[in-house]
Subunit: 432 residues, 2 copies
């Protein structure tokens, strides 16, 4: 496997951009041990997760803001803050990001929010979920490391994001899914023409098999975006924090409501917000981070409510399949962040999820996937229970697209009436 | 019905922005008779279709370009060229447009195009089709005319676009569909919470019924986006021309490949390109417009090939349902434009459509709906038949999203293999 085990943060003698931009090393989240930038993901000392450490640009925040604002309308405008080379935007990518931050006055009115409400709507990404952000950073790392196959285990959104990104970049892709996935999701995963392998077993079996592949010579040259490229992959979620702040006019909201699957997205958004403050790009002010889970897979919410520091794994049973990770790797970090910032973790049941999907569609014209029903439903519950101040300014995330989870709303969403094509029938149906 | 029958192009005495911006009147496309800006759509003299006529801004193109570039990253950056008030971006809209123009080098290589190829990918719109553009302009006209119900007949994309736009704007919506539509499309049409009425009959029956409603007192206050608001609605397609030119660096491509349903989109893109030249925003140079149809609904292609000026209606039978209009209202204008510019009209069969959807996905990571399969398939055929110069620069449109037409590719899109989760099984399947 062609692996570059060190990376300079400055331009090399050749004058080419530093391959990882401002990234300086991988750093263990638990013990702080540092490693060269390479395709590894666990600390050799303590098995803790590795994350990217930076030498971030110092100097005039105004100049940095201007540089960002002059950049492309996608995540690469934040290249100075990501583990990517300065010329990343010139390479073939599907260029996610710069999705809409929708001022949701109608929804705010229904929920009794007076301090302002925005929906960060990531269904606008190329394959219609936030996964395009994380895959884009992992893809760039794969290119730098000379990896030639992009891979992942997936039950839906991630498969499409990996397939699309690899096709455009001219890399081979090989994606692993449980063999009994819904037909629609199989089509989405297969249409980009990469290899798609059904595994006879559960999602856990798929994951275990991927770990085996990484350790085997077969896996040489393979980048599993959510395994050996995970430290880079995770950084993609920071761009949600950057975009929210920039789209608010370079300032932070009071509250953010974020879905929890593995918990990675929530922790990286917090990391991004802290970077914005450290860089002077936004004013240093308190913010509260709220995590949202489905009741049928709510191990972090349960731990939060019980006052525990550890997260007890569960067997998921919820319509919010993109959040159905029973043993969330970043669960403890999520608990830390919710408690440190004064936020909370809450959950809603399947009926509340469906109601929230419809509420968001009816008020703002945004058709969210079940994960968006979870965040909007949790926002409603947080207000009703007094955990979130409606007079504060809130941003709620929708991370995916309703077209991918039609089954969730189909049983309760249909025509108002079916009539013969006559004015009399229209009147009789009480529609006039 | 509260109708404003005249509109000034300059600010009124009150200082409010002119409600229709630079639009001066409605003008008959056939006989040129002019009418005040109102919710009418057919000429009283000759029954010809009405379109919006402008007093477009004169003066320094550089200043106009700068004004546009400083605007929002959606269609409202072109407000100075649209029948909307200057403050339109401040009103609740779903804000479509500024979708990606993807440099498609992989696809170009496969097709043998050496002059450069771009895909204008309108699946990035809020409800994932170009219909959001046209509905946005119709919605603004409805607001100005004091209409309170937004309506349409639809078999899919338009229903979602109208529902979403009306919800966000706080208008009532009432959408009419054939009662036997696919379940998924019904969900998309219903989820935004407006009224959805199934009509026992064909799409033609739905249309006829809508015309009856407009003429009845029941229809007072109703804006049917594709009937009595059609002149405004159609203008939304001009923004595709503006965006393509601006995203190319304020210049025109040599060739454009555009799908044909009613033909309105193609004619309005041509109108937009001519405006850009007239305004000095781009250099005046020749361009060729190619129309793309599905073989199972190819009345314009048939007329083009036969050298006819009239289009003989057909009964559609194709998987490209969003293009399945058997009697395209703007067919004769499409023929004029294809012939005047030196382009052509071509068609592809269902198998070629599916192959083209997969080709685009495999090369560029873009999952198009069947209409995108039609344009990419036609592009391939035009090159193979020598009708389109591969050494010239081409832009091909994808107007919708593959997630909405999964059935088209499902039968031929699936896993490479299904295996037990062992390395031996992986090797045996020939995947290593």
């Amino acid at each position: 496997m062609a692996v570059q085990t060190t990376a300079s943060t400055t331009d090399s003698a050749s004058g080419a951009p530093a391959p990882f931009g401002p990234a300086a090393a991988l750093s263990c989240r638990e013990c702080g041990t540092r490693y060269p930038l390479s395709p590894v993901f666990a600390c050799l000392e303590c098995f803790g997760p590795l994350e990217v450490a930076y030498d971030l640009p110092t100097g005039d925040p105004e100049a940095l803001r201007a540089r960002i604002e002059a950049g492309p309308t996608n995540i690469w405008r934040y290249a100075p803050l990501l583990p990517v080379p300065a010329d990343v935007a010139t390479k073939p990518n599907i260029n996610p990001g710069w999705t809409k931050l929708v001022k949701a006055d109608n929804l705010a009115r229904e929920l009794g929010i007076t301090g302002g409400l925005h929906v960060k709507d990531d269904s606008g990404n190329p394959t219609h979920s936030f996964k395009d952000r994380v895959v884009a950073i992992a893809l760039e790392a794969a290119r730098t490391f000379g990896l030639t196959t992009l891979s992942c285990s997936s039950t839906g959104n991630l498969a499409g994001a990996v397939g699309a990104a690899a096709s455009r970049a001219g890399l081979r892709s090989c994606v692993f899914i449980p063999h009994d996935l819904e037909a629609g999701k199989v089509v989405m995963a297969a249409v980009y023409g990469g290899e798609l392998v059904g595994i006879e077993g559960s999602y856990d079996d798929v994951n275990r098999f991927c770990s085996e592949l990484i350790g085997d010579p077969i896996g040489e040259g393979w980048g599993f975006v959510n395994v050996n490229l995970r430290p880079y992959y995770g950084e993609g979620s920071k761009t949600l924090a950057y975009e929210i702040a920039e789209q608010l006019g370079w300032r932070l909201p009071d509250n953010l409501v974020i879905p929890i699957a593995s918990g990675s997205q929530l922790t990286k958004i917090d990391k991004g917000l802290k970077e914005l403050i450290a860089l002077g790009l936004v004013e240093d002010k308190p913010y509260k981070i709220y995590g949202a889970q489905a009741e049928g897979c709510s191990p972090v919410s349960a731990a939060f409510k019980a006052g525990h520091d550890v997260v007890r794994p569960v067997k998921p049973d919820t319509i919010a399949k993109s959040l159905a990770i029973g043993n969330p790797a970043d669960g403890p970090y999520v608990l830390d962040i919710a408690r440190r910032t004064g936020g909370a973790v809450e959950d809603v049941n399947d009926e509340q999820i469906v109601d929230a999907i419809k509420l968001l569609a009816r008020t703002e014209g945004i058709f969210a996937e079940t994960a968006g029903g979870v965040t909007v439903g949790v926002l409603k519950k947080l207000i009703e229970s007094g955990q979130l101040d409606p007079a504060a300014e809130t941003v709620v995330l929708n991370t995916g697209d309703g077209l991918k989870t039609l089954d969730a709303v189909a049983p309760t969403t249909g025509p108002t009436a079916t009539i013969r094509p006559t004015l009399a029938a229209f009147r009789e149906a009480g529609l006039a």
